[in-house]
């Protein structure tokens, strides 16, 4: 197990390096510069600005410097917002996104997994059909449709909840619901599929024949294996919640990282784009690592892949 984890950690580090390199060169290949503005700048001043940010050096040299800096935890200054560092911006907005993201993930798991288990156990009854139809609808209503609709109904028509901003607990509800329900739908379907696969195994029939209680079969024998598809999906779900936050934060005007990322990419705020990409990628890599470990713990055969 230790060897397995060490191997995966090493792989994760390589992945992060690769992501950094790809992002860096992609950003560097973008036409224009972060310092071009509407007003014409004196070329001498522009030279100085470029020298200050290290843009006078060739790309390959900049890559090495920036990589060393990032490894030291230095993400550099924002190239567009003068006097602010990337670290400051992240420190300001990350808690907001973290709260939104973790609450959404909790909501998704808390609704999706029980719904999936119930649907699998009570298959072909209304307890299966209703949650599964709702979840299909959930999958087909992506965040950018669900968000405005929720805002329209609960914010503007019923007037129960605020539709924008981030000032108190009531502001959290709509964005969380928008992000969470979408993934709840996925978790429900995956859990149902996984549980059904388990419940159809021969050894379940044997257990039933021996007179094992149905609840024991579900909770003791099937749950562990049945949850594997849902657990596997945790990594992609986190990645999706991060990119979903780009949309949800825009719709509900939440001052989180998602908004910053899109703005940074459009403004060519190179350092901020790199810093945020590193942050998102690290989160996803860590999540994938945890998922791998949990998976192996649940199904030791996977270790020998």
């Amino acid at each position: 197990m230790t060897r397995f984890i060490a191997k995966r950690v090493l792989q994760g580090i390589l992945v992060l390096l690769a992501i950094y390199a790809v992002t860096f060169f992609l950003v560097a290949a973008t036409p224009g510069s972060p310092f071009s503005t509407e007003r014409a700048i004196d070329p001498v001043i522009l030279k100085q600005i470029e020298a200050f940010y290290g843009y006078d050096k060739p790309t390959s040299e900049r890559f090495v410097t920036s990589l060393v800096n990032v490894l030291n935890g230095e993400f550099g200054p924002s190239a567009v917002y003068a006097n602010r560092t990337v670290t400051q911006i992240i420190a300001e907005s990350f808690p907001v996104s973290l709260k939104l993201g973790s609450l959404s993930l909790l909501l998704a798991l808390g609704i999706g997994i029980p719904a999936g288990i119930v649907a699998a156990v009570k298959r072909n009854t209304w307890l299966d059909y209703v949650p599964m139809s709702v979840s299909m609808a959930g999958i087909c209503l992506p965040t950018f449709v669900m968000g405005p609709l929720l805002a329209l109904v609960f914010g503007l028509i019923l007037n129960w909840l605020p539709v924008g901003g981030w000032f108190g607990p009531e502001f959290v509800i709509l964005p969380t619901a928008t992000l969470g329900f979408y993934y709840a739908a996925y978790f429900a379907r995956l859990t149902r599929g996984g549980m059904l696969e388990m419940l159809n195994q021969d050894w379940v029939r044997t257990a039933r024949a021996k007179g094992v209680k149905e609840s024991t079969i579900v909770w003791k024998h099937c749950l562990k294996g049945g949850l594997i598809p849902a657990i596997t999906f945790l990594g992609p779900a986190l990645a999706g919640i991060i990119s979903g936050s780009f949309v949800v934060e825009t719709i509900f005007q939440v001052p989180g990282l998602g908004q910053w990322f899109v703005r940074a990419a459009l403004n060519r705020d190179d350092f901020l784009v790199l810093g945020l990409t590193v942050l998102f990628a690290t989160l996803i890599v860590i999540m994938n690592l945890l998922v791998d470990i949990v998976q192996v713990a649940l199904n030791p055969r996977l270790k020998y892949d």
Binding site: Q11, G12, L14, V15, A18, I19, V22, T23, L26, V27, A29, T30, P31, R123, N124, M136, A137, I139, C140, L141, P142, F144, V145, G147, P148, L149, A151, L152, L156, L196, E197, N200, G235, A239, I242, S243, F246, V247, T250, I251, F261, V262, A265, L266, R268, V273, T277, F280, A281, I284, V285, N288
Partner: protein
């Protein structure tokens, strides 16, 4: 599909002992055709999938033929009219610039569906060839090729696509490539595992012993045998791609005005939903219905092509 019906006829005749390479290939096809026939009859019994198929076809026809039948043009503005609710003249109403929303939904659908189709084909071609090659060659080549896929899996896709769209301008063609480049991964994995299961079988051994090139074995013998799962995943990739396109368009990175996709229309509707809710509701309805249908068709195909997965 014509050769399926031909080979289906062949299946009823006694198969002569294989004497040449071509007949070995034919025997393989006979197996395949009965699979397809079974799958078709299973699919036909799945009412949800058939209903979805018809609805989907109706939406496609609506989007393609609709603009020719409508008296309105998608980009002609009528600023005096402005945004009006659905009426007998404009069935879906008009947008803030007085453009007929129904025609815009049709044009948007054309673009959304085209992105879905083209990007899926891009993803399909890369994924199938990559996965089949990795699976067939095996060993170290396979390991390193799949490590690469794992690595890309860990890449935050949307970030990557957003950067691509910003870096290289927002053209439709780039979007096909960018989305296709992202969506081929699961296809590669599925094809690879299918090929690994197949390559130990006798017909591959026979092809190898007849001295066929790797290329021919992969293209002619292995890929046709994994088409079932590939079709399923392709059907499910189309909605995923459309979702990604709409996502990009929503953020203003996708289709650029005056062109519109459903994502663009939903974004426009979202901005005006308080006063003109129909601007959000109609495009959202069509978008969601299309995703709905494609998902059900994909599920139906999976149950039809892989009876083992049809549990209930």
């Amino acid at each position: 599909m014509t050769d399926h019906s031909e080979t289906a006829v062949l299946a009823d005749e006694p198969i002569p002992p294989p004497t040449s390479a071509s007949e070995i290939a034919e025997e393989e096809l006979v197996e395949g055709s009965s699979l397809w026939k079974d799958a078709w009859s299973r699919l036909r019994k799945n009412r949800l999938a058939v209903g979805s198929l018809f609805t989907f076809i109706a939406i496609v026809v609506f989007c393609i033929a609709g603009p020719w039948l409508s008296p309105w043009d998608a980009n002609t503005q009528d600023l005096f009219l402005g945004a009006e609710g659905p009426s007998s003249a404009h069935w879906f109403g008009t947008d803030t610039l007085g453009r007929d929303l129904m025609v815009r939904v049709m044009y948007g659908g054309r673009i959304s569906l085209m992105v879905g189709l083209v990007a899926t084909i891009v993803a399909l071609s890369i994924g199938v060839i990559y996965g089949a090659t990795a699976g067939y060659l095996g060993d170290k080549t396979d390991a390193s090729m799949m490590r690469f896929v794992d690595m890309l899996y860990a890449l935050p896709f949307t970030i990557f696509v957003i950067l691509l769209m910003v870096a290289f301008g927002r053209s439709l063609w780039l979007m096909f490539v960018a989305i296709g480049a992202v969506e081929w991964l699961s296809m590669a994995r599925i094809v690879r595992s299918g090929v690994i299961g197949l390559k130990k079988q006798e017909f591959v051994e026979a092809a190898v012993s007849l001295g066929y090139s790797h290329r021919r074995i992969i293209l002619r013998h292995l890929i046709p045998n994994v088409l079932g799962p590939v079709i399923v995943i392709a059907t499910l990739t189309v909605p995923a791609v459309m979702l990604l396109e709409a996502f990009l368009s929503f953020l203003g990175l996708g289709v650029q005005p005056p062109n519109a996709s459903w994502g663009v229309l939903i974004n426009e509707g979202q901005q005006n939903m308080e006063i003109y809710p129909w601007l959000l509701i109609f495009p959202a309805l069509f978008f969601a219905a299309t995703l709905f249908c494609l998902n059900f068709i994909g599920d139906g195909l999976r149950d039809a092509l892989d009876p083992k997965s049809a549990k209930d």
